[in-house]
Symmetry: C2
Subunit: 233 residues, 2 copies
DNA sequence: CAGATTATTATGTACGCACATAAACACAAA
DNA sequence: TTTGTGTTTATGTGCGTACATAATAATCTG
């Protein structure tokens, strides 16, 4: 090695983590400023900056110009769940992925969907209901509305080879949206589709996707009983 | 202004976003390398690097040394849900925060909790059940196990002023853990506590917290009916 | 021609410097 | 006392250079 102990920004980050973890720098407390830490660690200020910026993004530190950097009072607050891509999720567990489009129609969506898609009046748009399966057992039931006014091509798509989601990912560039997670009890119809008992508790993921100013699609994913969304941090 | 059009890394990032969004650079495609982009945008390579690194972290680009940078095939939709801090969440909506410790006992936890806390044999640890309220209406029911072997001080804590969570945040430095989200139907007992009907669908957030190699606490938060965890991206 | 070796190349990171910017602070004027 | 107005200071960012590193491409070798 050219230099035995050249400080990388990761090394600085680890060191700072230790200081926080060991409560040498206590929650809410101001820590030394970048220039001083650079001197202490024997590296450039840019390196310290990189390290601290990362920790701030992770929510461990709070930084404000002139005010300085302090240890966050309530550390672990945000956890990044990676939104599952159904196909990958199923295939990664070695199960066989499949899906079946139950329903495909043009219809005026219910008011909540109208609002989410920013539709006016009585526009009919594409409505799809799809069941995704893992080894032929129900995995997740998808109810999807596609703004076919913004994406007219979708009307010509057949979803034999590509699921609605995969078709959209391929054909449309998304640049944002929102997610909502909640819990519901299965209705009789939902229970029938998911092959479970009515009233079972299920996880619901709702998701709206946008391209520029156009709202493209609104989805509701109803997962099979026992499904858990998991993440470390 | 000193210089009208000095390129910031954010400007570069926006530009690249537009290229991707407009499908000038298509999914899976290789984009020009940093040096070339720097030349194009009229800025330093470090600036381009910063911009592209950010987009890669966001899942929009995939970068590998020597291989270059390409537009991600399936923009990895990872959503950073901010784990709710109950008190803040309630008070931010203008409601009155309150809580009541229902149960406090030493007990051998069930096997799943034993596993999550890496406890051996028949260790008795602290078990708490707390109901958090918003304007006196049930908000979330917390079932918490605290590894009182690793945190003996907790046995002397009274939870009159500080909720168990707040006590822990103040007294113990966490540095990691994991989260699980799922949906369940309310049992009769849970329905009684949350003042809802048995069988209603509820969101459950489970969370384990670690300090170094010690597992500190395992919590199960059972939210009131209609609760939604929400995020934009 | 397969397999090992070496060159090439794009990203990753460090440094030192300069200046921009936000915010806390001190001080002066109304 | 309040309201401006400057000053100070810590972070934020940009630049150019240098070198590290990983992975591909090219070349040599048995």
């Amino acid at each position: 090695m050219t230099e035995a102990d050249r400080k990388t920004w990761q090394a600085v980050q680890d060191e700072v983590r230790r200081y926080i973890s060991a409560r040498i720098w206590k929650p809410g407390e101001l820590i030394p400023h970048e220039a001083e830490l650079a001197l202490q660690f024997g590296c450039a200020r840019a390196t310290v900056n990189r390290a601290l910026r990362g920790l701030a993004e992770a929510g461990l530190l709070e930084r404000r110009r002139k005010a300085g950097t302090r240890v966050a009072l309530n550390p672990v607050r945000r956890a990044a769940f990676s939104i599952p891509i159904i196909r990958e999720e199923i295939e990664s567990t070695g199960q066989r992925y499949g899906y079946k489009v139950f329903l495909r129609e043009m219809r005026v969506p219910p008011p909540d969907v109208q609002a989410r898609l920013q539709l006016s009046g009585a526009d009919k748009i594409l409505h799809l209901q799809t069941l995704y399966t893992a080894d032929n057992r129900p995995y997740v039931f998808e109810t999807r509305w596609i703004n076919s006014i913004a994406v007219p091509d979708v009307l010509n798509a057949d979803f034999d080879m590509l699921s609605p989601n995969e078709w959209l990912v391929r054909e449309v560039a998304f640049d944002g949206g929102d997610f909502t997670v909640s819990g519901v009890a299965a209705t009789r119809e939902e229970a029938a589709v998911l092959a479970c008992k009515p009233g079972e508790g299920l996880l619901v993921l709702e998701r709206t996707t946008r391209q520029g100013d156009n709202m493209i699609t609104a989805v509701r994913l109803l997962f099979h009983p026992g499904y858990r969304m998991h993440t470390r941090c």
